[in-house]
């Protein structure tokens, strides 16, 4: 039994903002203060410290085939020294934990390679995790969309989530990756997907309908088309309008809020995008904040990555995954002296600051795409400390401030708002009821930070981190290795869907249908979220 005393507690879900509260922990959960403790009480004195729920990352690339392919391709960035952007499974767990993060979602998994993702997730210490199943280019999905068969689609989604042991439904460049396998892409919601006669609009809207009909805890996690292209704010707005106010999560929105036609007139349209998000109360987003330095871009949006390779001439990995998906990896450097890069940096901050409801905008860097997750504390400082923000703006390309509104924004985040965008908000959006807060019954994932003047320092190394009630980090150092659990959803489905699926896999797949789904052996510590 552990008692945390004297700390300033920030628990936005329970409307606690900086009050000194006691928190009691037993059996991995937060409990009511006992009248008479049955077991010895370990006391953590958090005087002069901030007590928050453990951090929850809604979108990061930490495990699986493309993360590993990135590691293999770039031996130069995970040695020692500057510019690290890729970590081993073990480092991933430790580095997240020392920042007080305890739950992280791997954001893209092709079902065919889901076994790989789970195998790696099992080697990440401390963290609870889950993964999102890619469906926007899946042939089973495209087939249902073509036939406008929502009922089968629901069952297919449920089956894919089960087979891949996924946590949520992910869509990446719906239809675009399928077209890429013929050398193309999609540029608008109404472009045609070759051979299928469907459009991205139909794929996205039907998948959102299916997701909601199934009552999945998280909304569709949507990576739109035209990633990173000038002028793409139009397709972002178009996508939001097409969904007519339904629940959806737009991921790394920063990469979709650009104006202009090319490099020369590249500019921010974060204001328009933020307004649309503000107007649609069921929409949540994460930002994908750019961090200056060396990164490794990796996404299932394979055609976008080919474009990036053509621009940079850097190494390029592309993998087509049959019937399901693709992936691309390209190393990249974000430079403060580059006008485009510094505008991208500013766009991310604009979104944070212009989207009014912190419960709907979450802190991510789309690790390791826009920056490594280890830089979250710097982003927190940028949001909380306007002087620091302006100091950093001073080092950027001067064009940045003519083409963004960042310089005019005075808002600073409060600690409560930071607690929302880094834990309470993502947990709520994921439907993780026991995460992101410190109410009785919540998982005892608790981050305790020593107060200080420099917010980056404060959030870089937690003074204490409890994971499932166990002390894992003390003064920023690992004191105990633990293994977290894997979340997955389970939703009822018509058993007849298996026949449909099996038939397709036997014809067009290359592994036996029985060997396709991820076995229970790969989820030794799972928590199943049951729907309906």
């Amino acid at each position: 039994m552990i008692k945390i005393i004297n700390g300033e507690v920030y628990d936005p879900l329970n409307k606690i903002a900086g009050e000194i509260r006691e928190i009691w922990v037993e059996g991995g959960k937060i409990i009511n203060p006992p009248t008479k403790p049955r077991t010895p009480v370990e006391v953590i004195d958090a005087a002069g410290m901030l007590v928050m729920p453990g951090g929850v990352d809604i979108h990061s690339h930490i495990a699986g085939s493309k993360v590993n392919a990135g590691r293999v391709m770039r031996p130069e960035v995970h040695g020692w020294g500057e510019g690290r952007s890729l970590y081993t499974a073990e480092e991933t767990g430790h580095l997240y934990a020392r920042m007080g993060y305890t739950t992280v979602m791997e954001a893209a998994v092709a079902p065919l390679k889901a076994r790989h993702t789970h195998e790696e997730l099992n080697h990440i210490p401390v963290l609870d995790k889950g993964c999102y199943t890619l469906m926007g280019n899946n042939h089973l999905v495209l087939d249902c969309v073509r036939r406008k068969d929502l009922n089968t689609l629901k069952n297919v989604v449920a089956w894919l989530l089960s087979a891949s042991r996924g946590m949520a439904l992910k869509v990446v460049n719906a239809g675009g990756v399928e077209n890429w396998k013929r050398g193309g892409n999609v540029r608008s919601l109404d472009d045609s997907v070759v051979e299928w006669g469907v459009t991205p609009r139909e794929i996205i809207t039907m998948l959102v309908e299916a997701n909601e009909a199934l009552g999945l805890p998280h909304s569709v996690h949507l990576h739109c088309h035209n990633l990173g292209l000038p002028g793409n704010y139009r397709s972002t707005l178009e996508t939001l309008q097409a969904l007519e106010g339904r629940r959806v999560h737009l991921t790394h929105l920063q990469f979709y809020s650009y104006g202009g036609k090319g490099q020369a007139d590249f500019c921010s349209r974060a204001q328009e995008v933020a307004e649309e998000v503000n107007a649609q109360p069921l929409v949540t987003v994460d930002v994908g904040q750019v961090i200056f330095g060396d990164v490794t871009t990796m996404t299932a949006d394979a055609p976008a990555q080919y474009g990036l390779y053509r621009i940079t001439g850097n190494r390029w990995i592309s993998t087509d995954v049959n019937m399901e998906s693709g992936a691309g990896i390209v190393p990249l450097a974000f430079r403060p002296r580059s006008p485009v890069n510094s505008i991208q940096w500013a766009v991310g901050l604009e979104l944070f600051l212009l989207i009014e409801d912190p419960w709907r905008v979450f802190l991510t860097t789309d690790h390791p795409n826009a920056g490594p997750f280890t830089m979250y504390p710097q982003v927190i400082k940028l949001l909380m400390d306007r002087d620091y923000r302006e100091e950093m703006m001073g080092s950027l390309h001067p064009k940045t401030f003519k083409r963004t509104t960042l310089a005019e924004i005075r808002r600073e985040y409060t600690l409560s708002e930071i607690a929302v965008i880094t834990r309470a908000g993502p947990a709520r959006a994921l439907g993780l009821k026991d995460k992101g807060h410190l109410g009785v019954g919540a998982d005892a994932d608790i981050a305790i930070y020593r107060k200080g003047n420099d917010w980056e320092e404060v959030f870089s190394r937690a003074a204490y981190v409890l994971k499932a009630g166990e002390l894992v980090i003390k003064d920023g150092e690992m004191v105990r290795g633990t293994w977290g659990k894997t979340f997955r959803v389970d939703t009822p489905r018509d058993p007849r869907v298996e026949k449909v699926v099996k038939d397709k896999y036997q014809r067009w797949g290359t592994v036996s249908f029985d060997n396709y789904g991820v076995e229970d052996a790969y989820l030794p510590r799972e928590e199943v979220i049951r729907c309906r």
């Binding site: 391709m73 770039r74 031996p75 130069e76 960035v77």
Partner: protein, 275 residues
């Protein structure tokens, strides 16, 4: 206190287990007293040891370092050095002078792979032969040697100057396959016979070939001429103590452009009598 003008290190016992001794570098030793030098950490296989355990050491506080013994298993000497002089009486191991930015390394014998890898300045002179990947980039990097001069009086292995960006490498003896592979710039002077595929995948840079060699099909013959640049280069080399035989100085060279599978901005200058 008597200040000696050099530090002498003698390997006590030859080792088959690799010894990693990046501390043998003028930058570090120049400021240290004898006792401190003896206590510097080295790694013998998986065990940490002290420099004094493996070497008998004379002298202190000097940037002139003399190392003796068969050091072919001693890796990383002169790693990143920026100043001073490191003389090796014998063979040197892998990664010698890798990443160095200045100063001079002289080796009487042979050295291992990765000599002067990612070097950024200074001079390395090898009386014997060197291994593979001289002046190359470490895996995953796209910039190898980026300034400085490496002179090898004996032979050199495969892939010398791989991903080289700037600087000059001169090899008097034979070289192995793919010298100047994926070069981004800089100059290789190969005085002896050359293995397969010189300049494979090169983007820019110059490979001067004085011995026999086969040119890849993705290089195209341009012209026979007397490049003024070579006169300049050879004279500059002479100033660094590197002699190129007179018949190759005032001579005609055949220029091949390549690698045309890449940008085609590189060149091989082949001495007209070489083939």
């Amino acid at each position: 206190m008597r200040v000696m003008n050099k530090i002498e290190l003698t390997l006590k016992e030859e080792t088959t287990i690799p010894l990693e001794a990046e501390v043998i570098s003028p930058d570090l030793l120049a400021g240290l007293r004898h006792q401190e030098i003896c206590r510097l950490p080295v790694y013998l296989g998986r065990h940490k040891a002290r420099l004094g355990d493996l070497f008998s050491i004379k002298g202190e506080r000097s940037s002139q370092i003399y190392v003796q013994g068969n050091l072919s298993r001693v890796k990383k000497m002169g790693w990143g050095m920026s100043t001073g002089r490191l003389c090796i009486a014998g063979n040197g191991g892998m990664h010698l002078g890798a990443g160095m930015t200045g100063g001079e390394i002289v080796v009487d014998g042979n050295t291992g792979d990765w000599l002067g890898a990612q070097m950024q300045g200074g001079l390395i002179r090898i009386r014997g032969s060197a291994g593979n990947l001289v002046g190359a980039a470490y895996r995953g990097n796209h910039t190898g040697m980026n300034r400085g001069l490496i002179v090898i009086e004996g032979n050199a292995g495969n892939m010398i100057g791989e991903h080289m960006r700037r600087g000059v490498i001169v090899v008097h003896g034979d070289v192995g396959d793919f010298p100047g592979a994926m070069m981004r710039g800089g100059t290789l002077v190969l005085a002896g016979p050359v293995g397969e595929g010189p300049g494979a995948g090169m983007h820019r840079g110059t490979i001067v070939v004085l011995g026999p060699c086969r040119i890849l099909p993705s290089f195209k013959y341009a012209a026979a001429y007397k490049p003024v640049f070579l006169l300049l280069l050879y004279r500059w080399l002479k100033g660094q103590g590197v002699e190129i035989p007179g018949d190759k100085v005032e001579a005609e060279y055949r220029r091949y452009c390549g690698d045309l599978a890449e940008t085609g901005k590189g060149e091989i200058l082949l001495w007209h009598e070489a083939n």
